[in-house]
Amino acid sequence: MSTPSQAPGAPAMSFMDPRVVMSIRSLELRAKVVVEGFRTGLNKSPRHGFSVEFSEYRQYAQGDDPRFLDWKLYARTDRSYIRLFEDETNLRCYIVADFSRSMSFGSLEYTKHDYGRTIAASLAWLLNRQGDAVGLSLFDEQVRMVVPARYRPGQLRRIMVTLEEPTSGRETNPEHALEHAARRLNKRGFVVLISDLLAPVENFEAGLKLLRGCGHDVVVFQVLDPVELDLKIDGPKLFEDLETGQKIYADPNDASEAFVQRITEHNDAVQAVCEKLGAAFVRTVTNEPLELTLSGFLHARRSRR
């Protein structure tokens, strides 16, 4: 199933070509392929050994909650240990995915929307397999659909079906979606935001601040198309905004320099906000292998511990 093709800029490792992955019609199967491919390459990965969860015993110290003492171990060894990560195995994770019309752009055979929801499906599949409660929230200018975070049979299927929704909306407003996720997570949780983040930074910063203020871990995936970074298009075009309908006649030969400068400034601002607020930030371009995105996610998770 793997192909030798590599995404530009990708490390010289064997990853599946994203075009091949995207050609799989079933989203669930696509997620499974991505995660299993990721696990297969995990042994060879320099990021080997990291996981979403692991158990550990720590010696009891004054101030620890005695409810978490492992009494069986105490009976065997006569030492007081605390099971530290039992709560983490019941991690509550919300995937907040952008379904605005700007996500329907794609210069490749697939769109950012396809790429983004594959990431969402893969994460959901991965977390579900680990026994974590996974929820999903779709948004454009407001929250459109919500699947509450659960760990029960059928939850993964519900998420997959919800991810089949088409794009909608006239603008992107991540602030509402992040606020909504903050309200739904009544105890410390984990929020994954998947969006192109092309909306004004202010919209997204307020929601992110709220999540972080509530103590939730946040991983931000910025999904971009290669053209959105370099504007490499042949000939002048009448560009029509997918959300607002605004039409601008532009010749990429003349406009690309200013465009690259503006989009770079915007992306830098987004990344700066994430770093400032302590959220993990992963920028992924749709021609990159999906496994790299997952490993980026795990890396970000690890760095948050």
Binding site: S102, M103, S104, F105, K112, D196, L198, D225, E228, L231, I233, G235, P236, K237, L238, F239, E240, D241, L242, E243, T244, Q246, K247, I248, Y249, A250, D251, D254, A255, A258, F259, R262, I263, H266
Partner: protein, 775 residues
């Protein structure tokens, strides 16, 4: 090649340069592209490139050709055709001058203009041209024929035209322009076959072209293509007009009129002044405000009866054109009808006949009826008032009243006798025929009406089978009326049936007399005639009409309608029967018929007489004293015969219509018929047609809308220019005719559309090829 509308040709040629410019310009090709971050893009200026070389030459030429051809088609081109000169001497135009003489032409300033326009139109004609002049209103009449014109010398022609001009006088008739034009056009078209050298047929219409002109006839068929119409409109010195017309009201005791203002009226404040038979004003003026184009109806206040004046007409004041401002009105009858009652004055006793009589008369919706008792409760007896035409007797008549009743009958009064007893009948014995008698009948359980003469005026309203059932009325008791019998068996026809018999005048109620009464009516030439209107099922008379020889009449019932005698008062047939008798006794109104000026009447039928006289509003009298069958004998005109002769009668009239009269002026006509019974008059009030008051002018393009080729000023000028520029073009057809005949525009338009189709096919082929190459 000439053009009727050269502007379009110029536009087509100018538009031909557009494809050239477009083919030399090339806009940078653009392609729509949906994008997610348009806000980060900086707009570029679209680039237009100018090419020195033109691509797709054939395509450009096709486009130019299409524009030019379509422009030329709209310019309506035609080629001049010259008729050989040797035919010029034979070219003749036939002209009919149609002059409006309807009532609206009576407005100030029109008369002189019409005369001047007729003279000018005739002066324009050549010596070879044919002329006919006709006047029209609701009908048309030819005053000058083509045949007479063709054979007359120049001096005679001038005299003929001057005669027509001097005799022109507007009438009071309505306008039927459509019919007059249709007749004149048909006549012109017909003549073209007889006069082969006629090359032009023209109808000159001299009219005020007011909105009330009736053009409906022009919609009925196709206008002859070879007849042109030249419209010469005449306008009065002052615009606007207001007219007053009579409107029928449901109630006979009030008068309603309508004031209509023409659409171009300026004034809005007017006044209505009623006047009496002498022309003197009655009452105060009534202020009326009517805006232009609006109408308003109002009821005239009733004249004060104490003043003794009667309103016979009303005049509208404040209008500049008085021709439709005075109308005659029907005389309003006395709104209250008085009925006298001889009998017990028991107003609230349901056992008395008066109780039911009062309720029937109170229920009359057409008129107010006032019932008065002649025999008061204290025994005082009053004579019958002179304004009473109907007296009901429900008891024995006091002897003191008999002389008054006799006088009442002399005044053509109607006496209804409903005797509750034999004495009631016998109290009137002096007024009844000799030997008229009554005895109490021996009724077995009850009696019913068995035989009714539905052709008698009393029962004619019940003649329909739906209302003819009287079998539900039961009579508990009645009197046997014994009718007189003469020695001569006189028989009177009633409604075509021989239901009258002669009865022996022996005065005794013999079986023979009863049998005679059963068989029909009895007649006594000396004392009167008895007609049996209805009989009981036993054969006894139930209702008898007695004609005593005096103008009045006596109707005798054989029973009363109170509950003691019968169920009659409770029957639904009872109120209509009493109302019918009341209407026969007091006719609702002196017969007055509303007509419109121009209506044709048959006076003989109105008065049911072969001898009649018609008095016109201006005092003219027309008398007819010959039987209708001799219809070829004309009416004898006593006065002002010429005036009647000027009425717009059709030129030819069938002999059987010779006994008709045309109401040719507004006002009151009186038709008096003479029969064996005396004279009978009918009053006819002729009012001006309401359409004549609508004097605002119709749009001048109205005739073109109806498909009539009206010669416009542009075409007239074109032909004038051509004739002055070149003598050889004298024989040319008009530009309009040539264009209509040649119809070049059709071919040009077809060619232009063909070019467009070819261009579309070519362009699509080029695009497909370019797309394939790009792919």
């Amino acid at each position: 090649m000439d053009f009727l509308a050269p502007l379009f040709a110029a536009i087509g040629v100018a538009a031909a340069s557009i494809p050239v410019v477009l083919h030399m310009l090339r806009r940078a090709p653009t392609q729509d592209m949906p994008f997610s971050v348009v806000k980060f893009l900086k707009p570029s200026r679209p680039k237009l490139t100018k090419r020195s070389n033109i691509e797709h030459w054939p395509l450009m030429l096709l486009r130019i050709l299409a524009l030019v051809l379509i422009g030329l088609a709209f310019a309506r081109p035609f080629l001049r055709e010259v008729i050989p000169l040797d035919l010029q001497d034979d070219v003749v135009q036939s002209v009919t001058i149609l002059v409006d003489k309807s009532a609206s032409m009576r407005r100030d300033g029109i008369y002189e203009k019409v005369q001047q326009t007729i003279r000018e139109t005739v002066d324009e004609l050549g010596a070879q041209d044919l002329l006919s002049i006709a006047l029209f209103s609701n009908t048309s009449r030819t005053l000058l024929s083509r045949e007479g014109w063709a054979t007359a010398t120049a001096d005679e022609r001038a005299a003929m035209v001057e005669g027509v001009v001097q005799n022109y006088e507007p009438s009071w008739m309505a306008t039927d322009t459509g019919t007059a034009m249709r007749m004149a056009a048909d006549e012109l078209a017909q003549e073209s076959k007889e006069w082969r050298n006629i090359k032009m047929r023209r109808l000159v219409l001299i009219t005020d072209f007011q909105r009330g002109s009736d053009l409906d006839e022009l919609k009925s068929g196709k206008w002859p293509a070879n007849v042109e119409v030249e419209l010469k409109t005449i306008e009065p010195t002052k615009k606007g007009n207001v007219g007053v017309t009579f409107v029928n009201d449901r109630r006979a005791d009030r008068i309603r009129v309508r004031v209509s203002s023409a659409g171009d009226s300026v004034q809005q404040e007017f006044a209505l002044q009623p006047f009496d038979a002498g022309g003197a004003a009655v009452g105060k003026q009534i202020k009326v405000t009517v805006a232009a184009g609006q109408r308003r109806s109002l009821i005239l206040p009733a004249a004060d009866p104490q003043a003794g004046k009667t309103i016979v007409g009303v005049e509208l004041q404040g209008d500049d054109h008085p021709f439709d401002n005075v109308i005659d009105l029907p005389e309003v009858e006395n709104p209250v009808v008085k009925v006298a009652h001889i009998g017990p004055a028991a107003m609230n006793d349901p056992e008395s006949m008066r109780y039911y009589l009062q309720r029937v008369l109170d229920g009359n919706v057409e008129r107010d009826v006032q019932l008065g008792d002649l025999v008061k409760g204290d025994g005082v007896v009053l004579p019958i008032p002179v304004d009473v035409n109907f007296v009901v007797v429900t008891d024995a008549v006091p002897p003191a009243l008999l002389s008054s009743v006799s006088e009442f009958l002399d005044r053509s009064g109607t006496l209804l006798v409903a005797p509750p007893s034999v004495d009631a009948v016998l109290s009137l014995k002096k007024l009844l025929p000799k030997n008229f008698n009554a005895i109490e009948a021996d009724v077995d359980e009850y009696a019913m009406l068995g035989n009714i003469d539905f052709e008698h005026p009393l029962f004619s309203t019940f003649s329909d089978a739906r209302f003819a059932d009287f079998s539900s009325i039961k009579f508990w008791q009645h009197r046997n009326l014994v009718l007189p019998q003469t020695t001569q068996p006189g028989v009177r026809q009633v409604g075509g049936h021989t239901n009258s018999v002669s009865v022996q005048p022996d005065g005794s109620p013999s079986d023979k007399a009863v049998q005679a009464a059963v068989d029909g009516s009895a007649e006594n030439p000396q004392d009167g005639i008895c007609s049996i209107v209805a009989k009981f099922d036993s054969g006894q008379p139930a209702i008898v009409e007695v004609n005593t020889g005096e103008p009045g009449r006596i109707i005798v019932f054989a029973t009363g309608w109170h509950p003691t005698d019968s169920q009659w008062a409770l029957s639904t047939r009872f109120p209509p029967l009493l109302t019918r008798i009341l209407s026969l006794a007091s006719p609702a109104q002196k017969e007055q018929i509303q007509q419109t000026v121009g209506d044709v009447i048959r006076p003989g039928e109105l008065v049911s007489s072969d001898k009649w006289t018609v008095t016109y509003p201006d005092g003219t009298t027309v008398r007819w004293d010959m039987p209708l069958s001799n219809s070829t004998t004309p009416a004898v005109l006593l006065n002002n015969q010429d005036n009647v002769d000027l009425s717009p009668q059709p030129v030819t009239r069938p002999a059987k219509e010779q006994d008709t009269i045309t109401l040719d002026q507004p006002g009151r006509f009186t038709v008096t018929g003479t029969t064996e019974d005396g004279k009978y008059s009918v009053s006819l009030i002729a009012g001006l047609a309401a359409s004549e008051s609508r004097t605002e002018m119709l749009p001048l393009g109205q005739l073109q809308v109806l498909g009539i080729g009206v010669e416009s000023d542009v075409e007239a000028q074109l032909e004038t220019d051509n004739s002055s520029a070149d003598e050889t073009t004298r024989g040319q057809l008009s530009a309009n005719d040539l264009e209509r005949k040649q119809k070049w525009w059709r071919w040009l338009l077809l060619a232009g559309l063909g070019c467009l189709v070819l261009e579309s096919l070519w362009a699509s082929a080029i695009e497909r090829r370019q797309t394939a190459e790009a792919a």
